[in-house]
Amino acid sequence: MASTERPEGRGMGDRIYDAIFHSYFWQSIFRSGYPNTPRNQMLAVATNVFLHLHPTRIHRTHVKITHTYCLGGLSFFLFLGLTITGVLLMFYYVPSVERAYEDIMRLETDVRFGILMRNLHRWMAHGMVIMVLMHMMRVFYTGAYKPPREFNWVVGVVLLVLTLLLSFTGYLLPWDQLAFWAITVGTNMVGSAPLLGEPNRFALIGGFEVGPNALIRFYTLHVIALPLLASVFMAVHFWRIRRDGGLARPL
């Protein structure tokens, strides 16, 4: 197309570059080229659906790694990674007492990259709990919960609880001894609460002891209810950061 108008002597690289980045198709996705002026760079952030979670400009102290250590961002990144690996695991896993354990075994031995997916999901899950706790500490020690950010801290505490619940409900799914007894111990703690403890425990595991009902409840909570809830609270969390004027600064 455009290459006919170019002077001779253009190398193969230039022509491939043109064919890709100046193609009709590419330009239908990205309306402008690489943003290399400040104006275009701001537009790139403001008009891209994913990037526009960010403001277009940010105070220089907040770009320094040592201000946030990217901990909140990494929590979110792990959440996304867990969603992707989790969807792949769902292809092979049936939440029934008869099949769950065998499915995990088969996933590890018969499915290509199955064990990698499971390992990634497991280590990312532990990682997310740690990241969220460290993020909370970073927010505390930088005094970033102070007005007007009080409520976003509360949203954060809800996210912390949801993260723990996500991890806890996932723990039961492999249906091995580790899973079974960890959940038995954990739900027994709920059962010990005064007054509402026993009814709550019954509702949570669908019976008097961990069994098929508990498995299906934990599965449903783990793959849909809690992730949806966490997404809603994350959306609020990120929106509030923008509404509160970006990250906290000294007055």
């Binding site: 400009r57 770009v63 995990i104 990634l120 930088t142 091995d176 001894q177 580790l178 709920v190 906290a248």
Partner: protein, 289 residues
């Protein structure tokens, strides 16, 4: 005229301030987006490496008939499971975490000053208070755990070469207060009955009968420890002038809380063997069934 001039003046000042702030700002693209991208890649690669190197655990198929010893919750709940060993289960498993979460969420409403905002530990005494809070929290927790495992008895017997005096048996652990003191018979069951009509709401019956010694050991002592020691810490810090502002107290309390949380988690994970006995990590064996 004057008003217009004034307005003009302020708006110039405002504009100047805005310009100064602009100078301090960087563009999100490329400065932030690239940092995020690199952080994400480093994490993705190291997690992939970890996942290739270490497999997620998969034990035998679940068997309700075979209870492993010890049975442990996931690591982030082992702090609560550790508490469970020292007090009433309802207190450790439900009341404490609920109150801790509410208190955590309430932090910004107590400390709503702007002191130390937006910068790491930027108030004058912040570093020292972080250290003091963490030290009090971790040392206090360790001492309490050692006491409940009768380690003071071991140390006493090792140092003096003689047995722990029988008369002091009630000081072996906190539970010994109940078991090794001559509590009168009447105090073991004070019939308060079950007059709360919870069954009419379809809830379990609540029997309020009271065993004073049990109540003391499982409720009163743990609650006064968990509430009293932090308050005591703040009072001491305040009287000695180490903590002056709300932010100061918040830093000490939060650091103490995090230290307690970490110590309890580590002890519950690595120092509790069969029968949840307190052991050094190298003696903690995998659970037996």
């Amino acid at each position: 005229m004057v008003a217009a001039a004034q307005e003009n003046a302020t708006s110039t000042a405002v504009r100047a301030k805005a310009r100064r702030q602009r100078d301090e700002e960087l563009l999100v693209w490329p400065d932030l987006v690239f940092v995020e991208f690199i952080a994400a890649m480093v994490f993705l690669l190291s997690l992939t490496a970890l996942s290739i190197a270490i497999n997620a655990p998969l034990l035998d198929r679940a068997n309700p008939g075979v209870t492993p010893n010890p049975s442990k919750a996931p690591w982030y709940f082992l702090n609560l499971q550790e508490l469970l060993l020292h007090m009433d289960p309802a207190l450790a498993g439900v009341v404490v975490p609920t109150i801790a979460l509410i208190a955590l969420g309430a932090i910004p409403y107590f400390d709503n000053t702007h002191d130390g905002q937006g910068e790491w530990l930027s108030t004058p005494r912040a570093g020292r208070l972080t250290f003091l809070g963490a030290a009090v929290g971790s040392i206090g927790t360790i001492l309490l755990i050692l006491y409940d495992a009768s380690k003071h008895v071991v140390i006493f017997e090792g140092l003096t070469g003689s047995k722990w005096p029988v008369g002091l048996n009630f000081l072996r652990t906190s539970r010994a207060l109940q078991n090794d003191l001559p509590w009168p018979e009447w105090s073991k069951k004070i019939p308060l009955g079950d007059f709360i009509p919870s069954t009419q709401l379809g809830l379990p019956k609540i029997v309020l009968d009271l065993n004073i010694a049990e109540f003391l050991v499982a409720q009163i002592i743990p609650v006064s420890t968990m509430v009293g020691l932090p308050i005591l810490m703040s009072i001491v810090l305040w009287k000695t002038g180490v903590a002056k502002t709300r932010r100061d107290h918040m830093i000490a309390q939060f650091s103490g809380f995090i230290a307690v949380f970490i110590v309890l988690t580590i002890v519950g994970t690595a120092f509790r063997g069969q029968g949840m006995e307190l052991l050094p990590p190298w003696l903690v064996k995998p659970p037996i069934s």
